[in-house]
């Protein structure tokens, strides 16, 4: 490949990876926050996320015939997904984890795996009764159009991106904007509000926080609500990005996002975002490894195709856990929420 084509190609891969990475980052936040307060891998989070995706699908499907601003539809979908996923997460915690508080760690972990499996089938049956399995998003018109095509008038950053040969769709840009907004809101809640302070206190030491008058269980519920709402957002974004979801599609993004949380240092919010972005780019880079193989003259790299790019997360997870289990931004006194 010539250098003149290689650079735009690489830029596209990296920007595409970042877009994907934002989805992982938002999912990873759900894992990392719950881990922060309970030291529990919430296996059911991947299904909370898929629930968001299913809700988003339903909203877009119901609103498809309605003539309404596309952004308004998106807002409704996001709000509905946030509400339902958030409440679902709270209910899961109430029914499946709270009775086991104080039990050895493996007990709630096994329960979490069980809840995850139950939710997969419940979602499948709910959609199945309407004769659907794969849910294809009906996005508002224009969402799939190029963000900044040659025919449209580009300004600012869009012009810069087009200039270096990166092509983005409008939905990719929406995805990035929504993710950044969610991060900002999350940051505000965690660092600037009373509730955020209480959550951080519970994450540091639940017993002492209890002595200071903080209701630990309420704060845990609040954490699950926030984590679930983030899961709902990421579900809708994921559905928009990939177009099709089904009840079982939470597993791979779930593990990838968990890996992102571990990579960044579990319990750390900036870590989760960093990890998500890194893994998104890594996945895209593995996906085009045949190009690198051609470039470097290594023929064998060409066999590494798309199916391996999903494996990237697993291998990254194994390597991180073996060599640096505290993650990139994880410290022993990391701020956990």
């Amino acid at each position: 490949m010539e250098l003149s084509t290689l650079l735009p190609f690489l830029a596209n891969v990296i920007v595409g990876g970042l877009v994907l990475g934002f989805v992982y980052a938002i999912i990873a936040l759900g894992y990392t926050m719950v881990y922060g307060v309970l030291q529990l891998i919430n296996f059911a989070h991947s299904e909370v996320f898929v629930t968001g995706a299913v809700v988003g699908f339903e909203v877009f499907r119901v609103l498809a015939p309605v003539s309404m601003n596309g952004y308004l539809k998106l807002l409704i979908a996001l709000l509905a997904a946030m509400t339902i996923s958030g409440l679902l997460n709270v209910i899961i915690e109430r029914l499946a984890y709270r009775p086991l508080r104080g039990a050895p760690k493996l007990v709630p972990l096994i329960t979490a795996i069980g809840v995850s499996l139950i939710l997969q089938d419940v979602l499948r049956v709910i959609e199945g009764f309407q004769g659907r399995f794969d849910l294809t998003y009906t996005l508002p018109t224009g969402f799939a159009a190029p963000f900044c095509g040659p025919e449209s008038s580009c300004v600012g950053f869009g012009k810069f991106l087009t200039g270096i040969g990166v092509s983005l769709q409008l939905k990719d840009v929406i995805l990035i904007v929504v993710s950044l907004l969610s991060l900002a809101v999350l940051n505000y809640i965690v660092n600037r509000t009373r509730m955020g302070k209480a959550i951080r206190a519970v994450a540091q030491d639940r017993v002492t926080a209890g002595l200071m008058g903080i209701d630990g269980n309420r704060m845990i519920s609040a954490t699950f609500l926030i984590g679930g709402a983030l899961g709902g957002i990421s579900g809708v974004l994921f559905g928009m990005k990939f177009g099709t979801v089904n009840a079982y599609s939470g597993f791979i993004p779930g593990v990838t996002a968990f890996t992102a949380a571990v990579l960044g240092g579990i319990g750390s919010i900036p870590g989760a975002v960093l990890g998500g972005l890194l893994l998104g780019v890594l996945e895209k880079l593995i996906g085009v490894s045949n190009v690198f193989g051609e470039l470097l003259g290594i023929k064998n790299l060409a066999v590494i195709d798309d199916s391996y790019s999903k494996l990237g997360a697993f291998i990254a997870l194994v390597l991180i856990l073996i060599f640096k289990p505290t993650g990139l931004l994880g410290k022993s006194n990391v701020e956990k929420v």
């Binding site: 972990l109 809840v115 089938d121 009764f129 194994v318």
Partner: protein
């Protein structure tokens, strides 16, 4: 106090010899009738009802309950022996002669029972949650699947065409490298057992383990290249006589993979171990899916040979079995022997030094280490033992199915095995076997039966068919057991006594295990939060 209460009802249970024998006769009769096609044909509507898959599953369950009752009930020893031996050696094969699928089902149940027993060592005894257990099953299955099928000739052909500078010298190098590095690994581990490990020993150990892998790859590669000229003679795979050699090899291969996976990951604890084993299990599955040359990718390997034992076939023929049932009957017998062996190994291990070391680690890792239990070695033995059971059963599975593909080794399978262990009761051998029987019956008979029964109901679309509700059932088992009866259906007596002995001291437990990475302190679970009905069954902490 509780202990005495628990013991009493068993001791004073009424003698149920007659009931047991009656139950055996009735359920055997039902099983034999409901699997006899000719007889069912003559029975009209009753026959059709008996053929219903759910009714059939009920018959099989009731029949298998015989063996459970023979174990649980107080009865004369002759009655217990009659029921268990009669069921397994006479009635099941007899019913299986009329209906081959019953033989298949029995083999499947026993394969899963063995898998559950293996996972029970890892999860139930040693307290290490392994979510990638099915990977070892896959190793065993592919070990025989590759050499016992036409795939072998194709691999040989490939290596014949691409020898890549390999010759008999490579074989020698590979063998020497393997031997030297394996010996040095043993030597280093001996050395570090006595003195504290230093950076030098750690790194030389890692180097040696890489050397072993390289040596094995070189050796296997050289063997394949050297065997390549024989490819035409092996068009159907290796001679079935090699079955026995590979039965032994599959045990070692799976155990070796267990050690190789265990070495880096076993220093992690609790949930991190769970997620890393999940990841490695998926890695092995994806490799099986993508290494088309060896595993034929997603289309799978077929046909896979079974062993051929002429005298056994003759005996089976004399008993009236059809020739196409010989291999199933043979595998049935083999798997019976294997499960007997595995059960013996389990019971012996449980009562041995190593078994007590496992339980010590599960209950409190730090205390166990302080008492002189070598942590890594003990955990590795647990991993390797569990893996070896899975390996041998994987091979039998491949021979039974005559077909393997990565579909058989998905994460759900690992979780199914986990739910068997948890349903029966972690650490309890009879419980785990019961769990395996229940879950396998649900999975292979009752759910498909439900699916078939509801397939034509108009308001249930195909996408919501209850025949596919495996995940829901596994999930419900996991959640319900953890919330309601964490010690399982047939709890291990010692464990149950431990559990109900010191309710008040339980909550110390979590401190030992919490904060797997040292980033979090265990205080989150500390005293005052423990509900009364808590237990440490799930292994790991106390």
């Amino acid at each position: 106090m509780t202990a005495a209460l628990q013991q009493k009802p068993r001791a004073s249970a009424p003698d149920r010899t007659i009931l047991l024998v009656l139950f055996f006769i009735v359920t055997s009769a039902f099983l034999l009738v409901s699997h006899n096609g000719d007889l069912l044909g003559q029975m009209g509507p009753v026959g059709t009802a008996l053929k219903n898959p759910i009714v059939e599953a009920l018959m099989v369950s009731l029949f298998l309950a015989n063996i459970l009752f023979a174990y649980l009930w107080k009865a004369a020893p002759w009655a217990r022996a009659l029921v268990s031996v009669g069921s397994l050696l006479f009635v099941l094969p007899a019913a299986g002669r009329e209906d081959t699928s019953l033989l298949d089902l029995s083999i499947q149940i026993m394969i899963f029972a063995a898998l559950a027993l293996g996972l029970n060592i890892v999860v139930g005894l040693a307290g290490l949650l392994d979510l990638g257990y099915v990977a070892f099953f896959a190793v065993g299955a592919y070990t025989w699947g590759i050499v016992g099928s036409p795939r072998f000739a194709e691999i040989l052909k490939y290596f014949g065409e691409n020898p890549g500078g390999t010759n008999s010298g490579t074989l020698a190098i590979g063998l020497v490298l393997t031997a030297v590095t394996a010996a040095s690994m043993l030597y280093i581990s001996r050395l570090t057992a006595r003195t504290a490990p230093t950076a030098a020993t750690t790194w030389s150990f890692r180097l040696a383990s890489v050397g072993v892998v390289a040596g094995v790859i070189l050796t296997v590669r050289a063997l394949l290249v050297l065997l390549a000229p024989q490819a035409d003679g092996l068009a159907n795979g290796l001679n079935a006589g090699f079955f026995w050699l590979f039965l032994a090899l599959s045990i070692f291969a799976a155990a070796a993979v267990g050690v190789l996976i265990g070495l880096p990951v076993l220093k992690l604890k609790g949930d991190y171990l769970a997620i890393i084993t999940l990841g490695l299990g998926e890695v092995i599955r994806v490799l099986a899916n993508n290494l088309d040359l060896y595993s034929a990718g997603s289309q799978g390997i077929t046909p896979i040979k079974s062993a051929s034992v002429p005298w056994f076939d003759a005996a089976a023929g004399a008993l009236g079995f059809a020739p196409d049932q010989y291999y199933l009957l043979f595998l049935y017998a083999l798997v019976l022997v294997m499960i007997g062996l595995i059960l013996t190994v389990n019971v012996r291990l449980d009562r041995s030094r190593i078994g007590r070391a496992w339980i010590a680690i599960r209950d409190d890792e730090v205390a166990a280490q302080a008492m002189g239990v070598p942590l890594m070695q003990t955990k590795l033995i647990a991993f390797a033992t569990g893996a070896s059971f899975a390996g041998v059963m994987g091979m039998i599975f491949a021979a039974k199915q005559q077909f393997i593909s990565p579909e058989s080794f998905v994460l759900n399978q690992s979780i199914a095995i986990l739910s068997m262990v948890i349903l029966g009761g972690m650490g309890s051998f009879p419980g785990v076997i019961l769990g395996a029987a229940v879950v396998t019956l649900l999975n292979l008979r009752i759910l498909p039966g439900l699916g078939e029964a509801t397939a034509n109901i108009s308001w249930i679309p195909q996408q919501a068919n209850p025949g596919q509700l495996q995940r829901l059932i596994f999930g419900a088992i996991l959640v319900a057991m953890m919330l309601l009866r964490p010690e399982g259906l047939l709890p291990n007596r010692r464990r149950q006594l431990e559990l109900h002995h010191d309710d008040n001291q339980e909550d110390e437990s979590a401190q030992g295990n919490a904060g797997a990475l040292g980033t979090a302190s265990g205080d989150v679970y500390s005293a005052g939060y423990a509900p009364a009905k808590e237990d440490d069954k799930a292994g790991g902490s106390r």
